[in-house]
Every structure is written in C-alpha cells, then in structure tokens.
Amino acid sequence: MTNRIETALVHGAIREGYADKKGAVNVPMYLSSTFHQESIDEFGEYDYARSGNPTRAALEKAIAELEGGDRGFAFATGMAAVSACFMILSAGDHVVITEDVYGGTYRFVTKILPRYGITHTFVDFTDLEAVKAAVRPETKLIYMETPSNPTLGITDIRGVVEIAKQHGALTFLDNTFMTPLHQKPLELGVDVVIHSATKFLSGHSDIVAGLVVTKDEALGNEIYFVQNSFGSVLGVQDCYTLIQNMKTTAVRFNEESRVAMRIAQFLHAHPLVENVYYPGLPTHPGFEIHAAQATSAGAVLSFSLPNYDIAKAFVEAMKIPVFAVSLGGVESILSYPAKMSHAAMEPEERAKRGITDGLLRFSVGLENEDDLIEDFTQALEIASTIK
C-alpha cells in the first residue's frame, strides 16, 4: 500500500523501527555526538554525529520519501543545502541558472563559485530557447527555481530537463515554494531537489534548515561526501522540530494557499495595485505551465505599487503581518524584496528582474482571511492618499 502524501507527512519519519525505540510514537532526539562500537573490525550504522545521527536519519528518510527520491540530506540552513549541492561541481564547470533566483543563491553563485573556477550564465527561464542557447559544452548543471522568488516566474520543468538531458547536464530545482505536496520535480526528471525547510516545511518561523533529495545512487553519494566533509548538517534538536512541524505542512500549506488565491484576486481588482504576481491567476504568464506541473498556486504572492513612497505608506499601515524577511510561517509575512531577499543583488540586476521599488511580497499565514482582507483594504486606502 502506498500512502498519499498527507499521510506520509504525518507518518513518514516514524512508521518503522518501533522495536528500536521502545515503541515510542515519535523519533527520539539523539543528542549524542559519538557512538559506541561493538567491534574493532566492523562499525555500526552510526559512529560520529556529523556522518550520521539517528534523529537526522529519520528526517532525511522522510523527505526522501515525500519527494519520491531514495536519499535525503538535512543541512543547517537552506543556503547550506544549496551550496553543498553546488560543491559537487569542479573547476571549469559551467552553470546555467534562472535569473530570478533567490538573492542568497545569487550571491553564492556570483561571489563564491567563481573562486573555485565555476562559471555561470543567468537566463530568463520562462524562455526555453534562451536556456538552450546558454548551454555550453562545459555546462554541467542547469539550476531552476519555480515558482521563483519574488516575481513567481514559472519555469517549464519538463522542457528544461529535456534540454539538460540532451547535453548530459544535471538539473537542480529549488522546490521551497511548492513543497513536495504540490510539485514533485524528481518525477519530472530533475536530479536534485532542494528546500529551504525554514519555510513551509517547518512553517512556524522557528528554525532554519535545508533539505536535499536525490534519486540516483552515485549522485546521492557525491552529495553525502560533501555533506560529511563540509559538515553543514542540521542539529539534532532542529531535526526533531522539523519532523514534528512537517506533520502539519499539508493542513497549513493548503489553507494558506486557499487564502492566497483570495488575496491575489482582491489585489488584482484593486486600482492602486499595478501588478499581481501569482501563478494561480489566469493572467499570470506561467499559469498554464504551472498548472501542468504543480497542483497548487502556493501561498506566496507579490504585487507592485506605483512607487517607493506608496509602498512605504502601505507597509507602515499594515497591522497584521510581520514585516520581515522569510516566508512560509503561520504568521503572515510582508517583505520588501529590494531591501530584503534581494538586497544582495545590484540595483540594475534587480530592475531587470522586475524587483522594482514598489514591489512587495506577501506570504499568507493562518490568520482569519477576512481580517487579512480588511487589513489590506485599510492599508491600501491610506497608501492611496500618497501623491
């Protein structure tokens, strides 16, 4: 019997091994850095917590199962996960990467990878011809993020995978915005799935964490080598918190997405709002592609107001959401990408990507939806008075 993903989220990490954990329903927290060995010749499954820890193993097994992969890896942060994956490349390799990538990934690719002789080309991934044109003989990796951050651009995953396969390049995909509930990149041929688990998977704005899943054994071994060598693993208590929080990912994400659609429609109809970026709106240029590869439009949307002063007045008038970086928490989070998630990007690069001075990103939380709409209504009314 194969369980549906909602069931796997609740049971994933814990279904087996009752006998080894005294029947406990939950995975125990192994705050043990080292493990006693029974024999000089043969070591047990665990020897040192960087290399493997039973609590972390339960989490890694769970995310692998959820993504339909065969091996999972837990990292200290989303960026630790992203950078560990890039570290399987070597000097001379080239990366084709979506231009509206998360600001932290942008910084890593532009400031750190060149030190190792790894080059990159940014491309508008909504244009498959442009992706194809950017691939060179030394291209080893095509890196996707869909929906992308913050303008929710949609990449045709199947299309990019086909290009990569023709060139013998790997594909990585940052699946943070969709979670395995609503987008299964491995099933579409992607080689490595990456999550900032800080977001919807944990979902309580409490821990930072990253997860990676692979399906190919050799690739899994390469990522494990980096994970163990660099050591940016997730701590045991955070592994436990993440396992527990993932049990409510389905109920949280689905409710937040439902309300996100309502807010997107509300903003779309509002005269002060210039653009709404949400892949659930038929007006979104990636609407059809997204619908063909994902089963939800997600809980994050962005929208642009005419200018900085109006955006500032709006932010100051909003009462319910926290004004902060990050997303995916139970609390609604309002962000200003130009100075937050994409502050690491040069102004001209930001402008190219539609990250204007009036752009705001909203991560829908679990507050009452009418309260959120009322809050938007009053804040937009105040912002409307700004000349």
């Binding site: 029947g23 705050l31 043990s32 493990f35 006693h36 436990y240």
Partner: protein
C-alpha cells in the same frame, strides 16, 4: 571489577543505554505514547506520564547514586515534596526542623489546613526533645540537613535510630549536599529528596525535583502517586539533569573550595557579625552588622548576582527575609534566626579571588557609613 566510585557513576550516567546505536548520550524521547505490538504486549513504556525512557535513565541513575531502590523525577523540587507528602493521611503528624525552606513551610501549612496533616516544628538540637514529640500519630521525621538558611547540620545517624525505634519514616531533603557529600539512605533514612534545580542541574537552567526511596512497599506507593498525580519531569529536562550530573563532582569540589575561602574572608570582615558555614559544600550564610546595610550591599555587588535559588555555577546572594522566607510571619521568622541582617550565599565556581574582590569593594564602599 570493584564497585565503581561515585565520580565514575556520575560521568557514565546514560552511556551504553542504547544498544541499537551505541549513542554515548541517551536519546531524548519526546514521545507521549508507545506502540504495543499486541494486546497486553508492552515495551515497558505505554504513556509518558507513567514511564519515559529518558526519564527512566535519570531515575535509575539517582537511585543508584543515593543507594536507593527507586527514583522519581518530578517537575520541581516542591513537586518532589508534594509526592512524598502524598504518603500521609489526615491526623498524621511529621516532626520538622524549624529552619526549613520557605516553600516547604508554605506547603506544610496548606497540608495542615486542608488535610489536617500536621507539621510539628522543633529546633532539632536535642534528640530527647524530638523524641518527646513523637506520639501515635507521628509518621515521619522530615528534615533538611544542613538547614536552610542557617546551615545547621542535623546528625542523620541519631535521627535514623530514633525513627527506627518508633517505626516511623526518616525523610531527608539532601539538596544542599547531594549524594556526592551525603547519602542519607546509607545512614538509615527511608526517603531522600532533592530540589534538582540546585546542584544536580547546576547551571541555573532546569527546574526539577528528585525522590529516592528504599524498600519495595515504599517505592511502589511513591510510584503509584507519581503516576497518579502526574508531577513528572519532562524528557528534555530529564536529559538536562543527566548532563548536569556528569559534572556534579567537579562542580561541588570547586563550590566547596571557593566557599571555604569566602567563609574565611567573611569571618575576617568587621562589617560581618556571623558566618554560618558547615565547612563542607558551597552554601553559607552570614549576618551583616546592620539591617540597613543589606540594600546598599545588594545594590553594590557587581559580579555576584542578587537572586533567589542556589547551587548553580554562578554565585548568587539571596535575602531570605524577603525571598525564600517571605511567606513566614515576621515574629516566627526572626525567632528562628532568619533575621533582617541575614544573607545567604550560594558560592559559585568562579575564581574565588574575583568573588572576594567583589565582596571587598562593596564592604569598602559601606565602611564609612557603617564601621
């Protein structure tokens, strides 16, 4: 192999408890429920209030350290006192030293008023006098030694013999000395309890209580009430106590060495009239020359923290009159020696010279006005 020393037992607590992984530190079981493989087939764990694998390691550990038969981890030191008090019925009487922790005093008062379980107070300086208080309703001697905050040692062997003679329980609060310095069960006591918040936790981070008893019947009763009332310690806090215990001996050696130096310094200080120190452990009390010195003294200390509680790595000074003994009526408090000039010092494990330097600067600042 010979019987392991207490230092080794402390350090090794929880090691080799998880055969499957070999984990050196026992895992933290944050699981409320435990799967049964069939009807009547339990792993020994069913529901975390009744038994939790992490708590079990702590409970077995403290039982072994105190040389008892069973241990019970409680959510606070007062919860441990309450667990022990569940053994008594209306009209039962307990003989208790006058110099008692204020929280215990308050709880005993409640038990007397609500359940007619009565504490009978005595200074415990004369065993015949204590014996004369024993009647057919007397069920236990409940003592703290050394006492808090007056640091009087009560001879456990003497009172164990008295309890034996009258077939009553000897219950000892061993918070100040811990099993490292004193093991009452080996001297004839029946029940030992701890505010494990103090030296056993040792880092001023966990609130916890421990009870250890000897004898199958007593242990079974305590186990019944522990589960029935439910004042159990959480798995996370149980783990923190296990970690704390691993350095108990090192910490206590340093608390003890520092307290000896501080006691000597205070004895030589003219603004101090009395130093109450047993010569063992990290706790001492002292009286300053004048009650009006207390507030400027507490405001003037810089390194030492003015705070309630004790037994942590950081030095604390407490003012019993308004803190630990605030619930005791003034006349009664003063009659017991907890006067307004009394300060209690939980000497931490900082460098002793730094503690003495802090005391020196504050006494020097007060010398003009009070000398």
């Amino acid at each position: 192999m010979s019987q392991r020393s207490i230092e080794t037992k402390l350090v090794q607590l929880g090691n080799l408890s998880d055969a499957k992984t070999g984990a050196i530190n026992p895992p933290i079981y944050m699981s409320t429920a435990y799967q049964h493989t069939g009807i009547g087939e339990s792993t020994g764990y069913d529901y975390t209030r009744t038994k939790n694998p992490t708590r079990t390691i702590l409970e077995q550990g403290i039982a072994e350290l105190e040389n008892g038969d069973a241990g019970f981890a409680c959510s606070s030191g007062m919860a441990a006192v309450q667990l022990v008090m569940s053994l008594f019925k209306p009209n039962d009487e307990l003989i208790v030293p006058e110099d008692l922790y204020g929280g215990t005093y308050r709880l005993f008062k409640t038990f007397a008023e609500n359940y007619n379980i009565k504490p009978v107070y005595n200074p415990f300086t004369n065993v015949e006098e204590v014996e004369s208080l024993i009647n057919e309703n007397t069920k236990a001697l409940f003592i703290e030694t050394p006492t808090n905050p007056l640091m009087q040692e009560i001879d456990l062997v003497t009172y164990a013999e008295l309890a034996e003679k009258h077939n009553i329980l000897l219950i000892v609060d061993n918070t100040f000395y811990t099993p490292y310095f004193q093991r009452p069960l080996e001297l004839g006591a029946h029940i030992v309890l701890h505010s494990a918040t103090k030296y056993i936790g040792g880092h001023n981070d966990v609130l916890a209580g421990l009870v250890v008893a000897k004898g199958a019947e007593l242990c079974e009763k305590l186990g019944y009430y522990h589960n029935g009332i439910g004042m159990v310690l959480s798995p996370m806090d149980s783990w923190l106590l296990i970690r704390g215990l691993k350095t108990l001996h090192l910490r206590l050696k340093q608390h003890d060495a520092n307290a000896k130096k501080v006691a000597q310094y205070l004895a030589d200080e003219p603004l101090v009239t009395d130093v109450l120190y047993t010569g063992k452990g990290g706790m001492l009390s002292f009286r300053v020359k004048d009650a009006s010195m207390v507030n400027p003294f507490l405001k003037g200390i810089k390194l030492i923290t003015f705070a309630e509680s004790l037994g942590g790595v950081e030095s604390f000074i407490t003012y019993p009159a308004t803190q630990t003994h605030a619930d005791m009526p003034y006349e009664e408090r003063v009659a017991r020696g907890v006067c307004d000039r009394l300060l209690r010092f939980s000497v931490g494990i900082e460098e002793a010279e730094d503690l003495i330097a802090d005391l020196t600067q504050v006494f020097d600042s007060l010398r003009g006005e009070f000398a």
